[in-house]
Amino acid sequence: MTFTAIIDFTVGLMLVGAMLLMLVRLFIGPTLYDRVLAVNAFGAKIVLFLAVFALAVGRADSLDIALLYALINFVATIAILKFFSYRSLEVALDDMKPARPRDDAGEGV
């Protein structure tokens, strides 16, 4: 086991530990926005893990998948938040009126 392999393995383990922390935040909540942020951060951890994994096994196609995940993660977060503000995905960005603030921080939807 070479030195770089040990480094890759350690960084991968640390990323899995960070994923576990995100899972704890996802489990206990308590508000909608905590959970949306936790999902977004979890997707970022997955992207980083795939990049480390591509280095660890020497398979460059994992990097393409990591790029794809970064795009999907961004779009999914925007879609979730837009859906909760406007209850529709067909609202053009020009027509958006400011979302009304939720009572009790988004739990009442």
Binding site: V16, M19, G29, V36, G43, G58, A76, R87, L89
Partner: protein
């Protein structure tokens, strides 16, 4: 210790995380948290597929599981209540009995499966090898799975696209994704 030996420990960690997410989904009553957890479940499953070397399945899982189905579940959730009603203990136990029976059956069938990565499986000896030999000459792209799906089985894939399109139109109509024609108290 090679790279393949290391990745199996990541596989185990991902499986443990999937198990905990599944248990939490059963326990939580807040449906929004459940939808978010299913999205994360798909993300972890996709990373696990990459770790197992199935890149095409991982891309599909990330796009469908973490992307589209999360939004569809949110749309379905807006039509119902935000909290699940607590289910009776009898239904939990009945579900556990059914799942335990299915699990025992799967473990019983496990002995007939070939060893992971074995060279003498039907997939590695039959028509699959012909695809691998012919793809560089006939299709001239590096990925054999793409060559099989898009060219050798092109009509099959076209039929699947029709089915998925029809299903998507049905789901969009059921969930009223455009938001038109909603009642006034919902739309405000």
């Amino acid at each position: 210790m090679t790279g393949a030996d290391i990745t199996q420990y990541f596989d185990y960690l991902f499986m443990v995380m999937l198990l905990f997410i599944g248990l939490t989904i059963i326990r939580l009553q807040n449906l929004f948290a459940v939808v978010m957890l299913t999205g994360v479940y798909s993300l972890i499953a996709a990373a696990w597929f990459v770790s197992l070397g199935a890149a095409d399945v991982a891309i599909t899982e990330a796009a469908v599981g973490a992307g589209i189905s999360t939004v569809l579940l949110l749309a379905a959730m807006l039509l119902t209540a935000g909290e699940a009603k607590p289910t009776s203990a009898f239904r939990h136990w009945a579900a556990l009995v059914v799942m335990a029976a299915a699990g025992v059956a799967v473990f019983y069938a496990l002995g007939d499966l070939p060893v992971y990565g074995a060279a003498d499986t039907p997939a590695n000896t039959g028509p699959g090898m012909a695809y691998i030999e012919r793809t560089p000459d006939e299709i001239n792209i590096p990925n054999v799975v793409t060559a099989v799906l898009a060219s050798y089985r092109g009509f099959d894939t076209m039929g699947e696209v029709f089915v998925v399109f029809a299903a998507g139109v049905g789901v969009a109509l059921l969930l009223n994704l455009s938001g038109r024609g909603r009642r006034e108290e919902d739309g405000e």
